[in-house]
């Protein structure tokens, strides 16, 4: 039994589905803009990540949470979350290996020009990945509810 059926959360609506289909690409583009352009304008990884996460929530509201859960590859979500932390930590600790302090970006200049700007951009993307995947994860976890987890701990779908 799906959690949607149990709680009657999902109402199929052509209007919502059409709206989401039109709006979602723009929201995702805006999220990436906020993330990539955070260095030069307001925004950054935290905000962009939340907006990117909300795209999946929009899809879930339009097409049903269980359908979205099946469509979403959990490996991508897990990779984004742990990959974000690893990216940030690697960039930060890499400068220590090069003989500097934590996150001393300009030490990467010897490999790549404008390394400082690219390093900050990568860190922002890492943060964005963490925030987006954790937001998506919390959404699906809360939607499943605690009873669902206790009833069927093996049920991953």
């Amino acid at each position: 039994m799906s959690s949607d059926e149990r709680t009657g959360l999902y109402v199929e609506s052509t209007i919502i589905m059409t709206t989401v289909r039109v709006v979602a690409p723009f929201v995702l583009t805006f999220a990436l803009f906020v993330m990539f352009h955070g260095a030069d304008s307001p925004g950054g990884g935290f905000q962009g990540g939340v907006i990117a996460g909300s795209v999946v929530m929009m899809l879930a509201f339009a097409y049903g949470i269980d359908a979205a859960r099946e469509w979403l590859d959990v490996r991508v979500v897990a990779t984004l979350a742990s990959g974000g932390v690893l990216t940030f930590a690697t960039i930060g600790l890499g400068t220590i290996l090069l003989g500097g302090n934590f996150l001393e970006y300009h030490l990467y200049e010897q490999f790549l020009s404008h390394a400082t700007a690219y390093g900050i951009e990568l860190v922002e993307l890492g943060i964005g990945g963490i925030v987006a995947s954790v937001a998506i994860g919390l959404f699906f976890l809360l939607a499943a509810g605690f009873g669902h987890a206790v009833d069927a701990p093996e049920d991953e779908s």
């Binding site: 959690s3 906020v34 304008s41 959990v74 919390l138 991953e156």
Partner: protein
């Protein structure tokens, strides 16, 4: 300090939403008031020239938080109760009122919005650190947004901590709900 019409209306709106979130009886109505409050606050942040904070407040406070609260609410039983407002006990009103009075008493000691520090002391503007960031952020980090420079470079270690906190929150939620995957 003079308020423009829009600022005044926003303040009234935010205060009304905050009180609504506190006293409305229906949890969903209270939740909607809370979301509206977050949206109002985010516009106030933009007016105070803190667009980064405003964007975060709008995305997290008004967006994600509302969705997560609604989901939590959908998974619980909502009692059908009569009456629009929560009945307030005198003790609560006195306690909250006293707290508000204490907080409001600190407001006059804040520098006025936009003060440059010549007439009123304004540590935000005249502080040495602020000036250092404004002068050196672009040369040091090659990013134009000084907030990003502080977040990802000058205070990068703190930000790594914050990112790990977010990650741990996700892992903690998995553990508490006895799930193994996020979706």
């Amino acid at each position: 300090m003079t308020l423009s019409l829009i600022e005044g209306l926003l303040l009234v709106f935010v205060l009304g939403c905050a009180i609504g979130a506190a006293v409305l009886r229906d949890v969903l109505a209270s939740l909607m008031a809370f979301a509206a409050y977050s949206l109002g606050i985010s516009i106030i942040w933009v007016m105070l020239e803190a667009p980064d904070v405003g964007l975060t407040e709008a995305a997290v406070g008004a967006g994600i938080m509302t969705i997560l609260f609604i989901l939590a609410l959908a998974n619980t039983v909502r009692p059908q109760e009569n009456g629009l407002f929560e009945s307030l006990s005198v003790r609560t009103v006195v306690l909250v009122g006293a707290f508000v009075v204490v907080m409001v008493a600190t407001v006059p000691s804040l520098p006025p919005v936009g003060a440059d520090g010549t007439v009123h002391p304004n540590p935000v503007v005249s502080g040495e650190v602020t000036q250092y960031y404004i002068d050196n952020a672009y040369a040091d980090t090659e990013v134009k947004n000084a907030v990003t420079a502080v977040l990802a470079a000058y205070r990068g270690f703190d930000t790594l901590g914050e990112a790990v906190v977010v990650f741990s929150a996700g892992v903690a939620a998995l553990t508490v709900l006895r799930q193994e995957v996020f979706a």
